[in-house]
């Protein structure tokens, strides 16, 4: 294969992939740009780009108006806490379902997913009462538990899928060599499962970070995360798109940065997995 052909090919795919990526990313970019405009400029028609009034005012307004660090910390604790706790419970479950499947495994998986079928609004009052009576209302513990349980089926499903990709022969070989169950999980499965676990973790942190019904309904002050912060900037009287965009940018920036590093980890894990 001539090198020039592969370079041309790479160039073609680079251009194509970047075009698609930018198209998908454009609304996010537009939001970030809007966050640096004045309110009047944000709704100007036709939309302003070069001639827009650029300002940092929105950020200082948003910062002055609410206790961002507190909302931020709550989001971090709740999303990471619920994901880690979820992984802790889900990894053994997914492992056993993937490698020691019974004839009921698929039904069990489906049942787990079915716990998510109740529309949120229908259980508003039941949940509210449960959280009040157990003293979990407006606590981080309460939200960590709630989001963990909400996402647990998804975590188990994703892990199950990834574990299924791991060839059974390797396990057989390890067993032949007399590896104990613990060692099997720890030294053989886990390294091979890292990419799957990493991508599960990333997706679930995002799902928890973005949850915007229960996190607002079940909190007031102490445990309120960034979703509540956003709700204090959306749709007030008067223009708000620029400030909302600034608040949104502040809410997505941490997770975007985390995703960036997570992605590197992910890619490394994936290439490791591909060597097998």
């Amino acid at each position: 294969m001539a090198r020039s052909v592969s370079t041309r090919r790479k160039l073609f795919f680079t251009v194509a992939a970047w075009s698609v990526a930018l198209l998908i990313f454009f609304p996010v970019l537009w939001t970030i740009l809007t966050s640096f405009k004045t309110e009047a400029s944000a709704v100007a028609s036709p939309p302003e780009l070069l001639g827009a009034d650029w300002t940092l005012q929105n950020y200082s307004d948003v910062w002055a108006r609410s206790d961002y660090p507190r909302f931020f910390m709550n989001s971090v604790i709740i999303s990471i806490g619920s994901t880690l706790l979820g992984l802790l419970i889900a990894i053994p479950a997914a492992w056993s379902m993937a490698f020691v499947p019974g004839n009921k495994t698929k039904d069990l998986l489906m049942w787990m997913l079915s716990t998510k079928m109740m529309p949120a609004a229908a259980v508003l009052i039941p949940m509210y009462l449960i959280f009040q009576k157990t003293g979990l209302f407006d606590t981080r513990t309460g939200l960590v538990l709630a989001l963990m349980l909400m996402n647990l089926p998804v975590i188990i499903w994703m892990l199950y899928t990834y574990f299924k990709e791991i060839p059974g022969e390797i396990l057989e070989a390890a067993r032949m060599d007399g590896a104990s169950l613990k060692n099997e999980v720890l030294y053989i499965l886990t390294p091979m499962a890292i990419p799957g676990i990493a991508s599960t973790m990333l997706l679930n942190i995002i799902l928890a970070w973005n949850e915007a019904f229960w996190t607002i309904t079940l909190t007031t002050v102490n445990a309120a995360p960034l979703s509540a912060f956003i709700a204090s900037f959306s749709a007030p009287q008067g223009l708000f798109y620029a400030k909302l965009s600034a608040a949104s940018t502040m809410a997505i920036a941490p997770i975007l940065i985390m995703g960036w590093f997570g992605q590197k980890q992910l890619v490394r894990g994936l290439t490791f997995g591909a060597v097998k």
Binding site: A40, L129, Q132, T220, P236, L239
Partner: protein, 436 residues
């Protein structure tokens, strides 16, 4: 209980004496993210200077979310909030359930007699003031003086609907992207139905007769809806079925509306810094049809204390500070008179400084011309101008609002929308036990 209290007091006194800790009470205040409330949060230093032993935690949310959270809390006795921001619709309903603490015993300097009678009336149940108004609003006509002048018209201070239609027709210029009139079209009891219910009052319509029988099959509602649809189809902006307060505000500020009939609080926005037409706006009373009622509403965002709150005294201290005359003076000294929360106190409108604000007089006249206890031409069994103060109203009116919004979008005729509204409301009223 008493013993515990005394023991606690004793302990507190000891601690204070020892200088170890102060007896700080933390109250949780739930509020909407409207401009006036946000401004208040920036002025808290004054409150803390006067009440060093009270700390305020804010829960600031947009209107819909706030309403969901506080209603759920109060109806289940959650007790999460010590002060709630609620509107004129909630106060009589919650008051009837005995969920709100009386504010009759606020300190003398609160001067409850100074509250505008129309506003106070809507917040009082059985002689008890259950919520202290933070700002009050009615609705009025905001129009472009320059466009009216160019069209050779003048807007009367008290226009009729015919005047409005003529003005809308004259100002509409589709090529220049100017719509003669912008009105709410977005479905919701607090969106298009607030406007349409108030408008229907001036057409002699009503939601119910004295026996709670729905009235959407009556000619007055037909006249209201036909007039509204005609105005909006011919002179309104495209896509109006999605326009609520904020969408119309943006359009008006951009100079795309000749007229806009909406909340009086909008006046400070359309004449404010984000507006491209700030110096060209005139104000007039909401229109009428010569039947004795105008199409304007009455609303007050107010602070109330749920009975489930354990910190009644601190909550009262906060409400007294936030809705007192001194607070108005404080805002005026920091941000100017135009930014004072409007529509709550007689003394504010007697103030010569405030009279210089361009929309002051029209706001007061609008508020005074609304009467929640006698909102309609024909007698009704309910209280409320742009709403009916019964718990079932929000759900019903939102559904009716969807029908009218569909009519505006051209998906239903006015007759279909009204017929469906009649069936829907009549069914709801029967299932709720008002009618057989």
């Amino acid at each position: 209980m008493n013993m515990t209290l005394r023991a606690l007091l004793g302990a507190t006194a000891l601690l204070t004496l020892a200088g170890l800790a102060s007896a700080e009470t933390t109250i949780t205040v739930a509020t909407v993210n409207n401009g006036d409330m946000v401004r208040m949060q920036g002025l808290m230093d004054d409150f803390y200077a006067k009440n060093p032993d009270i700390k305020v935690e804010w829960v600031t949310l947009e209107e819909n979310v706030l309403r969901q959270n506080v209603t759920t809390d109060i109806a289940t006795g959650g007790g999460q909030y010590d002060v709630m921001t609620i509107g004129t619709y909630e106060v009589p309903i919650w008051g009837k359930q005995g969920w709100l603490a009386s504010l009759n015993d606020l300190p003398a300097d609160y001067d409850a007699a100074d509250i505008l009678p129309a506003i106070a009336g809507g917040l009082t149940v059985d002689g008890n003031l259950l919520a202290a108004p933070f700002y009050g609003e009615s609705s009025m006509v905001m129009y472009r003086k320059d466009l009216m002048e160019a069209a050779g018209l003048t807007m009367p201070d008290a226009p009729t609907w015919a005047d409005i239609e003529a003005a809308a027709k004259a100002m509409t210029n589709r090529d220049a992207e100017i719509n003669g009139i912008c009105l709410r079209g977005k479905a919701g009891w607090g969106e298009n139905m607030a406007f349409l219910t108030a408008m229907s009052n001036s057409f002699g319509a009503r939601w119910f007769d004295e026996n709670w029988v729905a009235q959407f099959d009556q000619p007055e509602w037909k006249a209201t809806l036909d007039f509204y649809l005609n105005l909006m189809t011919n002179y309104g902006p495209a896509g109006a079925s999605n326009n609520g307060f904020n969408e119309n505000l943006t359009l008006f500020q951009q100079g795309k509306c000749g007229m806009w009939i909406d909340a009086t609080v909008a006046a400070s926005f359309v004449t404010g810094k984000d507006s491209t037409v700030a110096d060209k706006v005139g104000f007039a009373l909401a229109p009428d049809n010569g039947l004795g009622k105008r199409g304007n509403w009455l609303w007050a965002w107010s602070l109330a204390i749920p009975k489930s709150s354990q910190k009644q005294e601190a909550a009262k201290a906060f409400i007294n500070w936030a809705t007192n005359k001194d607070y108005l003076a404080l805002v005026a000294s920091k941000e100017g008179w135009a930014n004072v929360p409007p529509g709550t106190r007689t003394s504010l409108y007697a103030n010569p400084e405030y009279a210089k604000v361009p929309f002051a007089k029209m706001t007061l006249d609008s508020i005074n011309s609304a009467d929640p206890t006698k909102p309609t031409v024909k007698p009704v069994p309910y209280v409320g101008v742009q709403f009916v103060a019964i718990p079932e109203f929000a759900g019903m009116a939102t559904s009716v609002g969807e029908l009218f919004s569909a009519a505006l979008a051209g998906q239903k005729t006015a007759d279909e929308a009204l017929a469906e509204a009649q069936t829907l409301v009549a069914d709801e009223m029967t299932s709720a036990g008002y009618t057989k």
